[in-house]
Every structure is written in C-alpha cells, then in structure tokens.
Symmetry: D2
Subunit: 347 residues, 4 copies
C-alpha cells in the first residue's frame, strides 16, 4: 500500500476543488479499504463544486466527494468476513444508523440519521476509499466493469421503476438525465408497454431514443400533452417517473397521469411550488411516491439480476471517460449540458 494517494478535495467553504496527495486511510474494524478503479460524477458533485446553497448547508470541508465508484478490495479491517483482498466491489454510499424506526422496519434507505459517503464523510474521488462492510456490494463477473461505477444512479432508476407495477404499463419519464435515461431502459426491460420521454436537451433526447423510449418529445417545441393523450386514447399514462425536479415538467407529468395512476417522484425541486392537488391527485385517485436512494439491499439484488441477464445497456449514457486529474473539465462539460455521465478511469 502506498502511503499517499491522489484525491479530489473540497478544501474550504468556497467554489472549486483541489487535486491533492493525501494519506491513504486505514480500515478500522468492520471496514473495507477499496482501490478505486472507476468513479463517476453525479449532479450532487456539481452542487458541491459550485458551492450552491444546498452545499453550504450540508458540506463540512475539507471533504473528498464522490459516491459512484467501483474497484477492488485493497485490505479489510478486523472482523470483516464477506469480502477479501482482490474482490471486485462497488458500494451503497448511504450508511444507515441501524437504530431508528425506519432502519428497524426495513426502510434503511430513508434512515432518519443517514450519513452519505462523499457528502457527510470522505468519498470515492480518490485512489482509495473506506466503506463499512455492510455497505460493500460484491460484483459478479457478468457485469461489465466499465459500468460498475453507475450502480448508484442505476439503482435510483430501478428503485423508481419497480416501486409499483410496471409490466404492461404505459410510462412517462419526465427529464432525461442519467437516472431518467436509465429508467427508460429499466422500464422497457421490465415489460413496460410503451415509454414516453420528455426532455428539452436535444442530445439527451437522442440518447432517450437509443435507450428504448417509444416516443421522445421536446416540451419546448412540441405539444407533448396532446400527443401523449392521443397515443393513449385520451386516458393518459399509467405511470409517471419524474426525474427532472422542474415544476413545469412535474405539472405536465401530473396532467398526463391517468386517473388511478402512479407518480414516482425522484427529481428534486429546488424550492416549493404550486400544484392543483384537487385535480391532479385527489379527484384523480392518484398514488404519489417519494423515491429516495435505493432500497437496502433489495434494489441492489434487482439491479444485479437485470444487468446479469443482459437486459440493460448502460453504454449510451456514458458520454465521457476522463482521468481524475481532469475533474474541472468534467464540471464544465456537465455545466454546459454537453455531458450526461462522466466516468473517471483511474490508473
């Protein structure tokens, strides 16, 4: 083990990051040290980079961000029994407390005291990362290694899609960032009858079609409401998967949801907004679900099974593969909307 490693560090309460050599941490009891091989960027990382209001309220520098990665076990702490040196792994980065009501009734994904690695403690934008054994996910050989840093956002999509019936359902995905795009592929793999996608960015619309969407519309220039209502015989869609967080898209999604349909909301609106609850939820007899994280660990088993059966192609979502030293370029590519998912390959 080398004494130091490269790491992306948020050094202080201000925009930007630094690339630094920092000491390689040592795993404590029940912890696993992982040599990072791929890691990828989430919108959260951009918030931290930009030092926006959410970041100001949540992040305590110095911090190594990054919560999407795969790698190989480098060493294990005392008491670790389920993995050993060399095992290929990824990890669930939400560390649940195990003691609150939610943790005790099988809802660890909404733990009252969750600690997120890469947000509340050091994460994976570095050569090595420390993970509690409980959160390690051993990777089967059947999953292409290049995709394994994407299990975190893919898991969000699997959680949202499988939060209710999906087979034989008509589905609307509003917002085609990485999670929205994954949702299209997952919904189709799980028997969705027809998947509609709405997205303002032309490049993302093209990828949405590649992922299997049956009809992709630009709400800025097309009458999405009219076209989708017509295609569904005036009934609307059975399932809304809301991945944008934009009030306009959310309102459009609810307008298109059929009476008695399911709306699974994952995109995070940046502030409160108005909705016509009477028309869009109550008279409609709709079911609305807040989707957070990944079920621990039901979603992981589902995701692994879908990937292993060859039903999912994640490749089109990876638009850039860079070196970790190119982190600032990655931030610019994401800000410009040119990139969807940037993966860093570490030497």
């Amino acid at each position: 083990m080398p004494p130091t490693m490269q790491a992306v560090v948020k050094p202080k309460a201000a925009p930007g990051i630094e690339l630094r050599e920092v000491p390689v941490p040592a795993p404590g009891p029940g912890e696993v040290l992982v040599r990072v091989q791929t890691t990828s960027v989430c919108g959260t990382d951009l918030h931290i980079y930009n030092w926006d209001p959410w970041a100001k309220g949540r992040i305590h520098p110095p911090l190594i961000p990054g919560h999407e990665f795969s790698g190989a076990v480098a060493s294990v702490g005392r008491g670790v029994t389920t993995v050993r040196e060399g095992d290929p792994v990824s990890a669930e980065m939400h560390v649940a407390c195990g003691k609150c009501l939610q943790c005790r009734i099988g809802q660890e994904h909404i733990c009252q005291h969750v600690r997120i690695l890469g947000v509340d403690a050091n994460g994976a934008f570095a050569d090595y990362v420390i993970i509690p054994e409980s959160n390690i996910w051993k990777l089967p050989p059947s999953i292409p290694r290049d995709w394994c840093s994407l299990l975190d956002p893919l898991g969000n999509a699997v959680h949202a899609v499988l939060a209710g019936e999906i087979a034989a359902q008509t589905v609307l995905v509003t917002g085609c960032g990485a999670i929205g795009l994954f949702s299209i592929a997952v919904a189709k793999a799980c028997g969705a009858a027809k998947v509609f996608a709405i997205e303002v960015n032309a490049h993302r619309r093209a990828v949405a079609a590649t992922m299997g969407a049956d009809l992709v519309l630009d709400p800025a220039t097309e009458n999405a409401e009219k076209q989708i209502l017509e295609t569904t015989g005036g009934t609307g869609v059975d399932v809304l998967l809301e991945m944008s967080g934009h009030p306009e898209a959310i309102r459009l999604g609810f307008a298109l949801l059929r009476t008695g349909g399911r709306a699974s909301l994952l995109g995070i609106p940046s502030r409160p907004f108005e909705l016509d609850f009477a028309r869009d939820i109550i008279f409609k007899g709709a079911t609305v679900q807040g989707i957070n994280g990944r079920k621990m660990y039901e979603t992981w088993f589902q995701m692994e099974a879908l990937l292993a059966s060859g039903k999912l192609n994640l490749e089109p979502v990876i638009t850039h593969r860079l070196k970790l030293a190119e982190f600032p370029q990655a931030m610019e590519l994401l800000k410009s909307g040119e990139a969807i998912k940037v993966v860093f390959k570490l030497e």
Copy 2:
C-alpha cells in the same frame, strides 16, 4: 303511489332552493324507486345552495340535489332481481359508466365518466328517488336506521382509513368535519395506536374527543407541530388523513408525517397551492394517495361489517334532525359552523 311528492329543487342558475310538489318518477328497466326516509346534508349541497363557482360549472338546473339517504324500496323496474318492495336500502350515488379502463379494472370509484345522483341527475332531497339496481345497497337490520343516510360520508372515511395499514399506526386527522370525525372512529375501531386530531372549531374538537381521538388540538392557539412530534418521540405520525382541504392544514400534516409514512388526501383544496415536495414527499419517501368516493363495493362491505359489529358510534356527529321543509335553516346552521351533520327525517 301518490302522483306527486315534495322535493327540494334548485330551480335556476342562482343562489337558493325551492320546496316544490313534483311528479313521482317511475323506475325504468333495471331501476329502483325508493321511498326516502332519512336524508342528510353534505358540503356539496351547500355549494349548490350558495351557487358558488364550482356549482356554476357543474350543475344544470332544475335539479333535485341530495346524495345521502336511506329508505325503503317503493317499486322496481323490469329486470330488477336483488331487491323488492319494502326492502330497507341506501345507495352509492356515483354511477359508473362500466366501460372505461378504470371501470374495467376494478376502479369504478374513479370512473372517467361518472354521473353523480344529486349533482348530475336528480337526487334524494325528495320523498322518492330513482336508483339503478347496481347501486342499491340493501341494509341489514343490525345498522340503526337513523344512521343509514350517513353511509356515503362514512364510506369516504372508511375508504381513506383502510387505503393502507392502520392497525398499530399513529394517525393524524386534519379537519374534523363529518368525514374527519368518522375517520377518527374508524381508525380507532381498526386498531390505530393513537389518533391525533387538528381542528379550529371548538365544538368539532369536542366531538373529535368523543369519537375517540387521543389528543385534539387547535392549530390557531396551540403548537400542534411541537406537541405531536413530542408525543411521537420526534418521529412524526405513520398516517396522515387529510380531511380539511386547507393548504395550511395540509402543510402542517406533511410536516408531521414520518419519513416513509402515508398521506391520504380527501379534503378538496379550492385552488392550487404550494408544497415543499423535496422535503415533504421526496426525501421523506412518503406515499400520497388521492381518495375519492368509496370503492365500489369493497368499501360498502367493510362499512357494513364495522357497523354491524358495533365498533362505530355515529351519533355524536349528528347535531341536528330537521324536517325537509326546514332545508333553508339547515343551510344556515351549516354556514355558521354550528351544525356538523344535519339529518332530515321525512314523514
């Protein structure tokens, strides 16, 4: 059968009603003519009386309103086989089309083409009312006759309470009109661990306690949020039953809903309003349900079973028993907040 009957009639597109003698209608094939014995007033009737914007957009005078009643079968049309003259009955007044998607998959209560008797066609504020056989509900002797006009709003409460787990759950009822009050009793009868109720009207708060609420709070003068959080160890309630339709109450309800909890919304907000979807639904992993009408006819079987087993006391909700000719007085009692449920007994 007499040739004419007394009826409360909305004669024209303006506030008010008239008491008139009108012809007794004759049941067509598959229809049942019922001699009304008790009938009661819903908020909808007050909207029609006041001729508010909703009424203007929906009601086509002349119309006999009224959709809560019980009575006895007076005569039956051709082909009717399940009831006969003299049978005690009430009815589901939402008449489903039977042909839309929702009707064909067991969701008749949210039929796309529903027609409501007392709203879209003549209702029960009269000596006689015509009901399709499919919608007739035969009354068992075990239910006190005096309560049988209340099955419609009681069914709303049963539908809301039983739309998810209720046994051993902590429950918050926001808004203690008739349906909110019934919800308290139903939740307690079905094993709710603790029922909190919030209501601004002092008389209704007193009835809420009588119905079995464990803690009743006035949000205008008490810190309901603090008290309920303290009582639940900081976790919040498992179930929110929203019966007020008031944005303030709804926001308070969501603030008190535990992470992973269920919010069943029945009260109808009069206009769109702002909610912090990120905090109140998405990060919370909440499930939000729009509750409309009564499940046809699962809710009716549940309601009958609960009533027959003696678990429910509806009496405290009936604040006034009047004659049908006193209809205008009933409207004033309701406007003033003095009355909760007014029942008319017909001679």
Copy 3:
C-alpha cells in the same frame, strides 16, 4: 346470415362428439353474435371429448364446447353500444354473476356463480357464437389475427406471472403445456432474471427453450433439484409457476422455492395429495396463490399491451392448424402428446 351453421356438438353423456348442422342463434338484448374465424383446443375440451369423471359431473349435453376463439361481430342485440358489425373480437368466456361478494369487490374471476361458455352453455366450436357484450374483447390491429384465439390461455399465463413481483426474479415453470410455455415468454418479457423450466415431453422442452427459458430440464432423467439449486447459489427460485397439476412436479417446485418465495398454482391436480406443509410453506414463509381464469379485465389489458408492444411470440406453441371438421384428429394429436396447441381456421 345463413339459417344454419356447422358445429362440434357433444350430443349425449358418452365419449366422442358429432359434427352437425345446427341453427344459427340470434343475439338477445345485450348480446353479440360473433362469426368465428379461429378457435383452439384446451385440455378441458379433451376432458369433455373423453367424457371423464369431471365432464360427467359438470357437462349437460347437448352442448357446443369451445372457449378459445376470435372472429368478427356478425350482429348485435338490443342495447349493445361498444361494438358493431365487422369489429374483430375475442371474448372472456367466464360469465360472472355480478351479484356475489366476489363480483362486487373486483374478483369477478372467482365469481361464486360463474357460468363458462363452452362448458355450461354453448361455446365457440361452431361458425357462430353468442357472447354477452360485457365479455366481448375488441381486438386491436396490432395483434396477429392468427393468435387471437389464444388469448384465453395466454391470459391464464399473464394472470399467473403478474400475480406478484416478476422483474429481476428467478422463476421456475413446472409443466410446459401451452400455458406453461406462454408463462415462460411472459415472464421473460416482464423482466424475469432467469427462467427454469421442467417438462417430461421432449418436444415441449424444445419449445420451452424457443420461448426463452434459460435452462430446460427433464425431471425423469436429470437431477433438476440439484442443477437449479446450484444455479441459484443454493437459495432456490423466487417464483414458482406451477402449470402441471402433477403432485411430483408440485413437490419438486416447492422444494426449489426459496424461503420467502411465491408459488402461483394453476395446474389442476386430479385428486388430493400430500405435501410437507411445515417444511415447504410454513417454515419457508412462502406465499402460495391459487390462480384461476383471468382477472376481469385487468389481465386482458395487460395481455393486449404486451402483445401490442411486440414482446411476445406465440407462434412456437401452435403446432397444428386444422379445419373444424378435423376435430377428432385434433383430439388424437393431443392425446398422443404430439400436439401442444391446435388451432382451427374456419372458412
């Protein structure tokens, strides 16, 4: 309309059938007369042909059997509004009473007083058949006409597969008759991770592989238990779809079901049999479901959506296409095990 039609008739309480010219029936109010274009044979028809103990107890000759068909509306009775002459249609042949508890709570498929056309009243092995309007299913152009007589057994498969979670699950299908084979295709289309199939007939095993089964085993010559346990890491399968009705296969299926798994039983055992309830159900925390018919009409919407999206290929299951006059040959082909599904094309 011609005055008479050819029909397969069970003339009396004895083995065999007769081909006869019989009068074309006239649709009553609410009924639809359909010109049959394709019709296919179910195991039930073979029971009726053979006049086995079940047939003796249930069938009242003379009867026209046959409950799988498609065709075009020839004429409609009074009051029929949802189809008209020429519309391509199939039908649900279980006619529910509409009045029992089950019918009133959305479980028409297990109506206490169900009447099956082709079993309890005349069916579709004839040029024309009478169907109540409620049971008519209008066919979209997207479904190949040649497959449309198969909606009844395909619906059984869809009902069984979608009676619980299926996406990302490992599945065992025991028994590869037509419904078992359809189940394989439906499970794969709906995201099953891996589908195992068990069948003693070599031809059916070959078709099982064509339908998408990942591993097909002959329990007579292979150690299915060992192989499937190994493939699932010793855990067993998440879902058992029992389509054989054979005690040995059912016991094998339960032995392979994982702790906490789902067993959906559709195959009909001919007599009571022994099971180790303690080991196979109770300690296992298993969920066992009896699957009967098709949900009315949720299953039909699901089936239509899956077919329309191109996810299902039914062709390999149709082993023979004959003329109705060749009915006795069809019976022999089925008895010999040579045929899986025989479709009759009417001129």
Copy 4:
C-alpha cells in the same frame, strides 16, 4: 454480580431436565446480560423436555432452554449504546445472520442461517441470559411487567393477524393454544368484524370467548362447518388463522375459507398430509401464507403499539404462575392440557 445462577439445563440427549447452579456468563462485545424476571413456557420447551424426534435432530446438550422472558439489563458489553444497566427489556430470540439474501431484503425473520437462543444456544430459563444488542427490545412503562415474557408468542399472533387485511374481515382461528388465543384478541383489536374459534379443549374454548371470539365451537361435537357457513351467508370466512397444526383442523379451515380468502398458517403439522389443492386453493383463488417468527422488527413495533394503547388483555391466557424450581410441574400441567401459558416469576 453473583458468580453463579440457577438454571434449567438439558444435561444430555434424553428426556427430562435438571436444575443446576451454573456460572453467570459475561457479555462479549455487542452483547447484553439481562437479569431475568419473568420467563414462560412454549410448546418447543415441552418438545425439548420430552426429547421427541424434533428435539433429537436439533438440540445439542448441554443447553439452557427458554426463549420467552423479560427482565432488566444487568450489564452491557463493549460497544453497546442503546440500553444501559437497569433498563427493562425483552428480546427477539431469533438471531439472524445478517448476510443471506433474506436478511438483506428485509426478511430477517426467515433468515437462512437463523440461530435461536434457547434452542441453538443458551436461553432464558435461568437468572441471567446473554442477548445480542440488535435483538434487545426495550420495554415501555405502558406494558404491564407481568405480560412481558409473552411478547414472543404475542408477536407470532400479531405477525399472523397483520399479514393481510384484517379490519372488517370475518376470521376463523383454528386451534386455541396461547398463540391462537392471542390471535383472537389481536384480530378483534384490529377491527375484525367477527371472529370464529375452533378448539377441542373445553377450558381453552372458555378462554377463547373471554378473549373476544364471537362464536366458539368444538369440532368434536358440533357441526362447525355448517354453523360458520350459515353465519357467513354461505360465503365462508375472509381470513383463516391456522394455529393448530392438525390436518383435520387445517382441512376444515380451508373448507370454510371463502373464495378469494387468505389462509395464514402458523401451527406446525408434525408430518406431511393430504389436501385437495384443486378445490381448496386453486379454484378458490386463495392466498396461503406460511407464518414464521415475528417480522424484525416491524412486528415488535406493532405489538408494542397495540399493548400501549390498551387494546389487548393477555391475562386470561396466563393460567399458572410458578417458580422456576417448579419447572417439572409446569411440564406436567402442559402435558395434561390443564395449563395454557405458564409464567415463571424469578426472585
């Protein structure tokens, strides 16, 4: 802490037990030492005492049996944070592995590698018992201390009753041992419309009535099938809670289950037995559930909430309160059928 304690010990592979002074164990890291105050006897303990075939195959003497208890924390091992000396506690005695599929998807109660304290390791028939911190259940003051050793079997009942809808349902409990009797009370507290109970032992039938059963029948002398069918209008019961493990009772239970009903099986049949799967499960469209242990820890929260709200009276089930030294007498009382639940109070 004294150096030794009294304990009931199974000394060797043969019938009987011994009362011995043994060393007080010391809690390791993550473990809690509890001073036992009450402990009670389960049928499992009688199997161990009698050294029947099940015990021979499972138990490795020497062993301190006993898995129902309450007490106070005596001392805690390193790392324990959720309880401290003096805290009143009980415990879930099924210790899950935390690593198998079932444990990782929220089904710890059916862990593939479960270890039961009192069966696979030392239990609670002693002055002190060692419990892993994860399995400790802190007792609120609202639960009568005298009932707190009963949480294990009460939890079985709560798990069974709440494994599906219960409010407004008709329920049949077959077998009125302690768990069956608790099930009656729990079902009534959770809104069951009517609870029928079947039991051959007269004393238990009397207690069943005390617990709230609406109709209690002796299948040996009464026509239970006829009476229950009549009371349910020929439909049968919505829910079967099978608590006897006797084939005759199970078959009677299935015969009385309504089409589309739920059967939750908890009683353990001692060997395989015959059932008419076609009639009793498949055509019936029934849902059958194996019920094992208590959900960890959802059932515990539910149980605590029901007890704290005063909805349950456990007293009638406790027929005897003895000293631990009277263990052999307890065994005789249970063998004779005279006792239902024997509680030991330790000094």
